[in-house]
Symmetry: C2
Subunit: 152 residues, 2 copies
């Protein structure tokens, strides 16, 4: 590793889902549901998805896209308010290189019969290996996948 560096950046994404907060929250809290929208998808091979949804709990997912390098997400849960809020920290690692560490806040607010969902990521992008643009793009795709999962 030639030079260490850290770039800090924050972004927020908002969605309105046509499902009540308890159902949207459950899509994060229930590992079987989360696995479907969070790591599965065409072209993705899931090598591991294990964890404990509780404060202090650790969750790990390992996957590859079309036979590419192994990618790892290591998540620790820091705050859980049922049906209202989840705060977790996570790192992303590609091959042997940790490319980011982030704090993510999920807020679930009633909006009519549905949910106003607010996702805020406060990221530290490491050693020039990642940056906020692709990360924000990745979460936009995930929140679309979550929306589809809520309809099924």
């Amino acid at each position: 590793m030639a030079e260490r560096s850290v770039t800090h950046a924050t972004f927020t994404l908002e969605r309105t889902y046509d499902a009540p907060p308890a159902k949207v929250f459950k899509a994060f809290a229930d590992p079987a549901i989360k696995r479907r929208w969070f790591v599965e998808g065409e072209g993705w091979e899931v090598d591991e998805f294990t964890g404990e949804f509780k404060v202090g709990g650790f969750e790990r997912s390992r996957f590859r896209f079309r036979g590419g390098q192994p990618v790892r997400n290591d998540t620790t849960y820091h705050d859980i308010v049922p049906n209202e809020r989840i705060i977790f920290a996570y790192t992303m690692t590609i091959g042997e290189n940790r490319i980011s560490a982030s704090l993510a806040t999920c807020e679930f607010k009633p909006s009519g019969a549905g949910t106003q969902f607010v996702f805020t990521e406060q990221g530290a992008f490491l050693d020039g290996l990642d940056n906020v643009g692709p990360r924000q793009g990745g979460w936009k795709e995930l929140l679309d996948a979550l929306g589809r999962a809520l309809k099924s």
Copy 2:
């Protein structure tokens, strides 16, 4: 709890210490040294200071100021580059209430014979129970205490 809320805020503090990066890093990595500047001090009673300084490791400190409410810091280490960088997430809890979750980045850079130390906190302050001003003030005091510890 009447109303849940999250306020996100980021701050950076910089210090130049008259000690090489390896010595400043060690003041975080060695629990006996860290305990002295991080939780001990006049008026503070330390009830617990335990943990493991490694990626994925968990550290807990519990203390009270002049017989006041119990305060708890729960830290998880997410990235460690010896003598160069530490990234950890931590929550603060007063009594039964979690008041914040934060991601903290410590960067240790050589500066002549000393160290340019950069501390960045990306915080989520919860339910109106804390905010960035006192947090930044608390870290200013801690980084002063670290400076004194490096001289002893």
